[in-house]
Each structure stands twice: as C-alpha cells, then as structure tokens.
C-alpha cells in the first residue's frame, strides 16, 4: 500500500504540483484516481465518437496502391497497366461482370463539337436515359448528365423553363424543348478552378476528370455556368446486370463516392469512331455530332449554313455545344435589293 503511494506520487510529481500545493500523498492518490478516471472517460468518449468508422466497407478504405496512385497524366504505361488491372478486378468483384477497360487516346486532327436542333427536339428524354445506361450513372441517388427543359415559346428564358414536365405524350404543341448538357467549353471555368488539376481539357476538346485524383471540393460545380457537373454524394448504385462493360478510364467506368463526374461526349465510343449514346438514340435526329476540323462533316456544314444559338454566350466560355434551327421560308425567297433611302426616292 505504502509502496503504491510512493510510486503514484513519484510518477506523478508534475501532476501533483499541478493539482495541489504541498498536498499529502493521500490527496495525491485521490488525484491520481480522478485523473485516471478522467483519462479513461475521455478515451472511451473518443472511441465512441469514432465508432461509426466500423461501418466502412472493406473496399472503401484506400489501399496503399490506391493512395499512391499517380495522376493520370503522370502514369507510365506500366503504371496504367497495373492500375487498370486493379480497377478491372474491383469492378468484376463488385458487379460480377468482367469489364473491358480501355484508354482510347484522342485522335489527331479531331475536335469534337455537338449541335442540337431546337426545331426538332420533342422532349422525349430518350437521350437522358440512354446516357444513364451507357455511362453507368448512379440510379440511386439518381445522376443524369442531360437535363431537358420544357421552354415557353416566345423566348429562350431558362428562368421560366419547366424541369420536371411529365405529360403522357410529348411534344406539347404549346412548348418547345431544350436539352442542356456539358458544353465542353474551349475556355472551361471548371478546369481553371480545380485546385489539384483533377480535370482538364483533352486535345480533342473533351473535358475529362480523373476520378481517382478528384478531392471532391465541388469548386468546379460552382464554377460551371451550364450546371453540367455532378457529385457523388454517396456510393453510386447500379442495378444488377445493368453495368455497361465497355468502359474507359476517363469516361464511364464506375465512379467512387465523393468525386465529381460529367459528360465526356462518350469518349470510349467517339474516339473509336462511334457516336455518343444520346446521338444514336435520338428518334428525331435533333442531335448532331462530329469533327469540326473536317469540312465535310455534318457539324461543319451546320455551323456554316444554319442559324446558331449559343447558350449564355456572354459568360465567354466558348462552348463546343451549340443549338441551331431549321429554316423554312427565308431561303426560298427570290433575292431582292435591300432597302436604301435612294431606292425610295
């Protein structure tokens, strides 16, 4: 007993002088017990506070490999092979489907642009759902890259648009429809603001995200004038058997929780000569996609000959996505001399 007192007061010399001035060893022992109890209570409170961490899924905690994974642009071929193999295994384990994970590079002499015919779109939202399927977008919570707006005729005013129209049949003859998605700007504010360069513009004009580099600050989402970026507020959920197995690292591979994602013009398709899913599915042919650098392309023709509308041109981000109209009437008029004061006299 006596020894214990000695020991306690010895090892807690500083504590003793802290708690009591010239206190006896009896008092110091009580002090020690109180302090030990306080420390124990503190430690258990801390443990209780950290308790939710037990619910981490085992594949949710980054492994050393994942933690040290390099930025996409810094990866060598060997790095990529290793990383892609790991992603392949993770996807297979999780979805039970062996994915075909590719990394198609941008093609030389190609700059993609996208045209949308406002005269033709009927607002059927087939594009929205084709995009969801093709790009493995989360079904719960629901993430969609394309938002179709039901617009009031007589203006192009987003503030009066209806985002949640739900009639049994489209189109409503009193309205017109304006789908909005990533405009793949040539001067993208989202790329500018990213603090870690997790998002950048590729040589073919597509702005991509390295989902394994994004820190999830959502600054890009605040910067985008077209509301084109989406955040994974939780682990994205795909129904069984609906995984689209043809995927690319920079586009439609399954995303983790806590990172941004966006439209990539379906680069896993378009970089190997196919059309984006939304273009392919459109029943009205309102959607046109192609290489603007090729003068023979449809988009080059439209840009040269049609009337074009650029949404929010005033923000100066130079979109690669434009709206156009079918022209009827004007072009069939016989040419006449324009009005001048002289012709009046």
């Amino acid at each position: 007993m006596h020894d214990f007192q000695e020991e306690a007061s010895d090892s807690n010399r500083s504590m003793k002088s802290a708690t009591g001035d010239g206190a006896g060893s009896e008092c110091s022992r009580r002090g020690f017990v109180v302090q030990a109890a306080a420390a124990l209570a503190g430690a258990s409170a801390l443990a209780a506070a950290l308790a939710p961490l037990r619910h981490f899924a085992s594949d949710d905690i980054p492994t050393i490999d994942e933690f040290l994974q390099k930025h996409y642009k810094e990866m060598t071929r060997e790095d990529k092979e290793r990383v892609f193999a790991r992603i392949h295994d993770a996807v297979q384990k999780r979805y039970g489907v062996a994915p075909k994970l590719l990394d198609p590079p941008p093609m030389d002499g190609v700059e993609f642009v996208y045209g949308l015919n406002l005269s033709r779109c009927i607002g059927c939202r087939k594009c929205v759902h084709a995009c969801v399927q093709e790009n493995n977008l989360s079904r719960s919570p629901e993430i969609q890259y394309i938002r179709v707006l039901e617009m009031e005729k007589g203006s192009i005013n987003l503030e009066t648009a209806n985002h949640h129209y739900d009639p049994p049949q489209v189109p409503n003859p009193e309205k017109y429809y304006m789908p909005v998605q990533c405009h793949q700007c040539a001067d993208p504010p989202c790329v500018k603001v990213c603090p870690v360069e997790a998002t950048w513009q590729e040589p073919d004009g597509i702005t991509v995200i390295d989902y394994d580099w994004c820190i999830g600050c959502r600054y890009c989402e605040a910067a985008c004038p077209y509301w084109a970026r989406r955040f994974n507020f939780t682990e994205p959920v795909l129904p069984d058997g609906e995984l689209q197995p043809n995927m690319a690292y920079l586009s439609n591979r399954p995303r983790p929780k806590g990172v941004m994602e966006k439209c990539t013009f379906c680069l896993h398709r378009t970089r190997v000569g196919r059309l984006p899913a939304c273009v392919e599915v459109c029943p009205t042919g309102s959607r046109k996609f192609g290489n603007v650098l090729d003068p023979e392309s449809e988009v080059a023709y439209i840009l040269k000959h049609k009337r074009i509308y650029i949404l929010k041109e005033d923000v100066g981000t130079i979109p690669r996505f434009f709206y156009y109209f079918d022209e009827r009437g004007s072009r069939y008029h016989e040419p006449i001399a324009p009005y001048t004061p002289e012709s009046d006299a």
Binding site: A48, L149, E159, H163, K192, I215, C217, Y219, N232, G316
Partner: protein, 414 residues
C-alpha cells in the same frame, strides 16, 4: 531544445489545470467536439449525402462558416495595426489575444474545408499537383496556411520568450507582424476572389464582394475580441483596460458603417437594375416562386446589423452593456449575412433556372457545432497558457532552474 521541450510540456500540463468552472467548460466543449467528430465519422462512411447539399446547392453550411471565420481571423490585424503602426498603446497588451484568436480560427477554417471535401483521404493531392496560380483555391490554401504559420510564430515566440524570461528580440517578430498585417487583408481578399471570379454566378460576380468581406470582417472580428477580452479579464488576472475596448469600439463603428454602406450599394445595384441577374438576390430578400427559406434569416441579419450600427454610433455604447449588445448583434448579423446569405443564394436558382432550396441536416449542423466547440477549446487553452506565462507567473527558472523552488511553486492559478 530541451528548454523548448519543457515549454511544450508545460503548455500541455497547464491546459489540464484550472478551477471547476474551467473543467466544466472544457468538458462541455470536448463533449460537443466529440459529438461533431461522431457526426463527421458518419459522413466519412456514408458520404456527403448526410448533409443537405445537392447538385443544385453544392455548397452549404461548411463553406458559409468557413467564409465567416476567415473574416474573424483577419480581424486580428485590426488589433495589430493601431499598436504597431499608430503606436496606440491601449491595445498593446491585448494584441496577442487577437493573434491567438487568429490561430484558433484558422484551424477552424481548415477543419470546415476538410469537412466539405468529398475525399479528405486524397488531401495530399494538393501537394503533388498544385494548380497554382490558376485556381483561386490554391491561393487560399497558401494564404490561410501562411497566416496560420505567421501567427503561430509570433504568438509562440512572444510566449516562449516570456517563459524564458527573455526580452523578445524585435528582429524575430516585428517584421513578421508587418507581413501578417498585409497577409490578414490578403486572406479575406483571396477568399472573396474564390467567389468573385466565377462568371457563371452573377450573384458573386461583383467587385464589391471583396471590400464588403473586409468591412464585415473588421466589424465582426473586433466585436468578437471585445467580448473575449471581457471574459479574459473577468476570469484571469490579466489586465485589460476599458481604453482597449473603446479603441476597438471605434474600429467596429467605422467598419460597420462602411459595411452597411456597401450593402446598400449592392442592394441598389441589384434591384434598381432589375435585370435577369437579380433572381438570386430576390430569392434571398423576398423569396422566389414560393421558395423563401432564407428570407426570415436575412431580414433578421439586416435588423441586427442596422441596430448594431445605430447602437455603435450612439454614445450609449461607450457603456459596456450597450457595447456588448451591439457586438453580439453584429457578430450574429454578419454571421448570417456573410455565411448563409452569401453562399446559398448564389445557387438558387441553379444556372439552368431550377429552384431547389437548401436545408442543412442535423448531421451537418452537429459537425459545424463540433468544429466551433473545438475552436473555442483551442482558444481557451491558448488563453489559459498565455495569461500566466505572459504575466511572468510561470517561467523556466521557476519550474526547472532550481529544484528546491519547484516543490514550492504552483502554477499560476487563475
């Protein structure tokens, strides 16, 4: 080096020592901080879906608190400028409390940013690929961490010198004090530029935001310090003269008038022009298409700010009770206006005209309270350490210089 180790040890030891009120206060703060940590752990597991944020309103309470607190931290400069530039010695012995506040508040700022990140585990990516100078967020990282280090150095040096009973050598801290003044203004300017630089959000895309930030910071910050100093002088032996408080009152007076003036400029420009860009401001002040979650808040803030300004201008606020009321009103008023009132409306309506309102979840609020509690905890510890050390009640010589004296000497009880 050994001496410095004893200093750190004394700091740790001292923060556990105090009377029952101190222990009660610290236990409460620890409890709230741990509850916040608990909520944060749940957020880590489930993701930011535990918050009220959405793709439509993608920043909320965290960034709002962050913005407000950057201002609070910058306010330390308002104590330093009178002392070091105008040689107004009323504030001489309270300057250090402003700087310590800056340290605690910047730590809170960094915690709020961390809480807002979707992938805090990838924090190191900031170091490996730093998008400087293009991204304003990288400027903010530098500004905030630099400010933290500057203030840590200044306070740490002064307190350590007092502990060693050494006269602080001006070479080691005065240049840093001057750098810190400029830096204080820069942290708030850079934080304002985070928002101002976004052309896609007209509510933020206005040059007046940065000056408004500074004006409100220089009102709310010193107001907070006035209240803190009264607590310090009540519960410790540290002397704080009324002169110091009244000098601060004059600073708040001017800052508050400028703040209200700039607010009027902003409101006039928005509503008189009445362009399509007024939608966010209309949502904030009057509600938009049946959505008006922020309306009661902003009018409360406006009333508080107006009342605080009137009180501060009137001679009545030379009395401490009126002054305290004015300080409290401006702290809360500016917190609403600079926090929720500045961040959330920029997202409503969305850039495609959709109206989705933001309502913070209890989870999110708990995390915010936890961070506030942790900040207060830090600040209490800082004050707890600095008061006896600066008063010369606790020095190296007393504690370790002479072994006999060690037995007699208790720490500076306050």
């Amino acid at each position: 080096m050994k001496k410095y180790a004893t200093f750190l040890w004394e700091c740790i030891r001292l923060s556990f020592v105090g009377d029952w009120r101190y222990h009660l206060w610290m236990t409460l703060l620890t409890l709230v901080a741990l509850l916040g940590l608990h909520a944060y752990c749940q957020q880590l597991v489930h993701g930011l879906i535990t918050t009220g944020m959405t793709d439509q309103v993608s920043w909320g309470l965290y960034i709002a608190n962050f913005t407000y607190l950057v201002g609070l931290a910058a306010a330390a400069a308002m104590l330093v400028i009178p002392v070091y530039i105008y040689r107004n010695m009323h504030l001489d012995d309270v300057v250090i409390f402003g700087e310590l506040l800056a340290v605690a508040v910047i730590v809170m700022c960094l915690l709020f940013v961390m809480a807002d990140l979707g992938r805090p585990d990838r924090f190191m990516h900031l170091v490996w690929r730093f998008n400087f100078p293009i991204s304003m967020l990288t400027w903010d990282v530098i500004a905030l961490n630099g400010y933290l280090l500057l203030n840590l150095h200044i306070c740490g040096y002064l307190i350590y010198c007092a502990y060693c009973r050494r006269k602080p050598s001006p070479v080691f801290y005065v240049p840093f004090v001057f750098v810190a003044i400029v830096w204080a203004i820069s942290i708030h300017t850079v934080t304002a530029f985070l928002y101002v630089g976004l052309g896609g959000r007209p509510f933020w895309n206005s040059a007046i935001i940065a000056p408004r930030f500074l004006a409100s910071a220089f009102a709310a910050g010193p107001a907070f310090i006035i209240l803190t100093l009264q607590i310090v002088r009540r519960y410790t032996r540290h002397h704080v003269g009324d002169d110091a408080l009244l000098t601060l009152r004059r600073i708040i007076q001017v800052a508050m008038i400028i703040n209200v003036f700039l607010l009027i400029c902003e409101v006039f420009t928005e509503f008189y022009t009445d362009s399509a860009h007024v939608a966010s401001a209309r949502y904030l002040y009057f509600g938009l298409s049946g959505a008006h979650a922020l309306v009661p808040w902003i009018w409360t803030a406006m009333a508080m700010n107006a009342l605080a300004t009137i009180l501060l201008v009137l001679p009545a606020s030379r009395g401490l009770s009126w002054l305290n009321l004015a300080c409290l009103l401006s702290i809360i008023g500016i917190w609403i206006e600079k926090g929720m009132g500045l961040i959330v409306p920029a997202f409503v309506p969305t850039r495609l005209g959709e109206i989705v309102e933001y309502f913070p979840t209890p989870h999110e609020i708990m995390i915010c309270l936890g961070i506030w509690a942790f900040g207060l905890l830090l600040y209490t510890i800082f004050v707890r350490i600095s008061v006896p050390v600066l008063a010369g009640d606790l020095t190296y010589d007393q504690r370790y210089g002479n072994l006999e004296s060690q037995a007699i000497q208790g720490p500076g009880q306050s």
